[in-house]
């Protein structure tokens, strides 16, 4: 079993839809959770970062963490064609650590 599981998609939605992206993990030592967006042929770009269970909102993006279920989500409201990218979840055991463990990513297409 992989440490971090993520549905690879692809996921296609119409413009304006609410998108839900999810990851599950097996290691309860993970304490820090990130969502990255990666456009084709580019490096990952940090979208959201959180370390506590509950919700964190930033504009159209909401990150949700449920440590008891080992489950994290990213919600995108009012999705735009420019949101079309691969979304990677990532986790860390320590905030000073560098050994990020990434999920395989979900490809999202937002259709105009």
């Amino acid at each position: 079993q992989k440490e971090v599981e993520q549905d690879p998609g692809p996921l296609s939605v119409p413009e304006g839809a609410i998108v839900s992206l999810n990851c599950t993990y097996s290691n309860s030592a993970f304490q820090y959770f990130m969502w990255y967006r990666q456009y084709s042929r580019k490096g990952p770009e940090l979208l959201m970062y959180t370390y506590s269970s509950g919700n964190k909102e930033d504009g159209r993006f909401t990150a949700q963490v449920d440590k008891s279920s080992k489950y994290i989500s990213l919600f995108i409201r009012d999705s735009q064609p420019s949101d079309s990218a691969t979304y990677l979840c990532a986790m860390l055991r320590s905030d000073y650590g560098q050994n990020f463990v990434f999920g395989p990513g979900t490809r999202l297409s937002v259709l105009p």
Binding site: V4, P8, Y32, M34, Y36, P44, L46, L88, Q98, N99
Partner: protein, 115 residues
């Protein structure tokens, strides 16, 4: 302010050859990490350098080695290339000792193809 830069953008090698990839960290950063991202997969941590020494290492063989220079730039070397080494190689930089995973920035990557 220049972000993380990597060179070359693309590289094609044949099996058994050796390759060197380069990374310049974001201005003000002193810590560099390298990741391998195979097609359709998330990045996998290779190793991290600061103060010119390897500090952490992921599950990669000794064929993967690195170096950090006094100006904080870094090289990733891969010897005896295998077909499975074909991937996007990402460099990330941050300022050591600064907590918060939102302080790490990724470069655009070098796409390595091994034939």
């Amino acid at each position: 302010d220049a972000g993380v830069t990597q060179s070359p953008t693309h590289l094609i090698k044949t099996r058994g050859q050796q390759v060197t990839l380069r990374c310049s960290p974001k201005s003000g950063h002193d810590t560099v990490s390298w990741y391998q991202q195979a097609l359709g997969q998330g990045p996998q941590f290779i190793f991290q350098y600061y103060e010119e020494e390897e500090r952490q290492r992921g599950n990669f063989p000794d064929r993967f080695s690195g170096h950090q220079f006094p100006n904080y730039s870094s090289e990733l070397n891969v010897n005896a290339l295998l077909l499975g080494d074909s991937a996007l190689y990402l460099c990330a930089s941050k300022l050591r000792g600064l907590a918060g995973s939102d302080t790490q920035y990724f470069g655009p990557g070098t796409r390595l193809t091994v034939l």
